[in-house]
Amino acid sequence: MLELVNVSKLYGSVEALKGVSLKVRRGEFVGILGPNGAGKSTLLRVMVGVEKPSSGKVLVDSKEPSREEWASFRKKVGFMPERVSFYDNLTGLETLLFFAKLKGFGIKEVERVLSFGLLTEEDLRRKVGEYSKGMKQRINVMQALLGPPEFLVMDEPTSGLDPEGVVRFFEIVEELKNNGTTVVMSTHVVGEVEERADRIVILKEGRVAAEGSPEEVYLSMPVRFVVKAKRSDLIEVLKKNGAASVTKKGDFLIAEVPPKRKMEFLKALLEHEDAVEDLIMRGPSLEEVVSDGK
């Protein structure tokens, strides 16, 4: 339903996005991961048309939307930006009514969102200026759920929520997803999207560093073999047969094997079975993938 083609975004001299290409299919749950400053928030803002890319294209249903088409696309979008503090002098309820109106919905829609039970009626009558961080985040979630949207885009929705809030949040998202809503969310908690997401996009320094189902992302990453060696010449064998690097640590050899050479490496190990006392194979965790590297 949405496609970014070679999208770049410049803020002065800062290049927040550097040629990002990405597809979001209807009904999909896409998780966006990446370190601070990777460009996640920028990417999400470009996706919902709040910011125009400096170069590249955003396609909705395979074509560049006109102004009118953007407008009708927005009707279907629920967007939850990061760090919203809202209007201090409005109550929670007034705030939701305002955003409902702005999106062309009435009190019915507000009532539906209230029924999720993210805030108590008593809290909703209090001014948002008195809210805690997590309560503001709950209002932010609620305004994005108005519609309900066909396309839900959320920037770190769980940050600031208590554990119970996180559980409730994913129950609601799950239900929406079962009804066909497309969901894109960024997060720093890998576990939140690791099991749930159909696809994961890892951004680093404004580029897509990895993309695909969680399994595909794992497959695309180098694997680490820790080999307990019986013979010292094994290190040379491993270096020649697939390992990008081998380091020695006591009796153990630690080999980093690029994704395409795993089989070659295993074959060599089998051929030199007599030199191998034992073996540990460790895929990188998604956390490692997100935080360090290639």
Partner: protein, 275 residues
């Protein structure tokens, strides 16, 4: 005619701003000063009570010439930086509201808030003046109120438009205060300076024309012209008011000072907000 989105924005601004402490404080300040002037204004030292209506009127005029632009400029300077700082701007932009609706809603909402502040700040004093001097002052009071609202709205639009050009609220505020100093104080001072330095060589026609460029001077003139006897008391008594400076012309200038920044802001909004 007016879309639900626009109504929603107006409603939000009114709800939010009337509960803002400094807006309430502005209304109270206006109220206290106008009331004090209406009561004590123009009285010779030691004698409390009313003297001539004209004296009170001129004092009121002088006061609001400073206060109304100040309140309006400060109010408008937060219009868009506020949404940016609160992080709500992306939600507004991702909503169904078009930039035109956003601008219309904001302007209408802020103008209503300002109007409410001005009316609340004026009403007791105007009522007092009315009671003391009788119904013949009513036209002057209405001119005073209406022109104050027009002046305020134009200053409001000026700083709202500035708030689209500059991202940080504090900088817009600084610019607004600078505008206030220039429009309300420096402009007249430099005109007077010009008169003095050139020893009156500047033609009166040119001088009047320059006065007509400044909305605050136009505001002053429109009020003084409507109160017949006051022409004699004009601060710029040296100026002969040429016949083309009629009330309709002055009112039109005040309205133009609303329309021009209003249209400019609308144009800017589309260009700037999404950028």
């Amino acid at each position: 005619m007016v879309s639900e989105e626009v109504k929603g924005i107006v409603r939000k601004e009114v709800l939010d701003k009337y509960r803002t402490r400094w807006i309430q404080l502005s209304a109270v300040t206006l109220l206290i000063f106008t009331l004090a002037i209406s009561y004590f204004g123009g009285s010779p030292a030691g004698v409390v009570g009313f003297r001539k209506f004209e004296a009170v009127f001129v004092s009121l005029l002088t006061l609001v010439t400073y206060l109304i632009p100040l309140i309006a400029l400060v109010l408008g300077s937060g219009a868009f930086p506020e949404e940016r700082e609160k992080g709500t701007l992306p939600i507004l932009l991702s909503s169904v509201a078009t930039p035109e609706e956003l601008w219309t809603g904001k302007v209408a909402g802020y103008a209503l808030v300002l109007a409410g502040t001005v009316v609340a700040g004026y009403l007791p004093a105007l009522a007092l003046v009315f009671i003391k001097f009788g119904s013949w002052v009513l036209p002057s009071l209405l001119v005073f109120l209406l022109s104050s609202l027009l002046l305020g709205t134009s200053m409001l639009l000026l700083s709202m438009t500035a708030s689209l050009l500059i991202r940080e609220r504090t900088r817009v505020l600084a610019l607004s205060l600078l505008l206030w100093i220039v429009i309300v104080i420096l402009y007249d001072l430099s005109l007077l300076g010009l008169l003095v330095v050139t020893k009156g060589m500047v033609s009166k026609a040119l001088f009047t024309f320059l006065l007509l460029l400044n909305p605050v001077d136009v505001f002053r003139m429109v009020n003084l012209l409507h109160v017949g006897e006051l022409k004699a008391m004009l601060g710029f008594a040296t100026v002969e008011i040429p016949p083309y400076v009629s009330p309709p012309v002055l009112w039109s200038i005040l309205v133009a000072w609303i329309i021009v920044p209003g249209a400019l802001g609308r144009l800017l909004l589309e260009r700037r907000l999404a950028g």
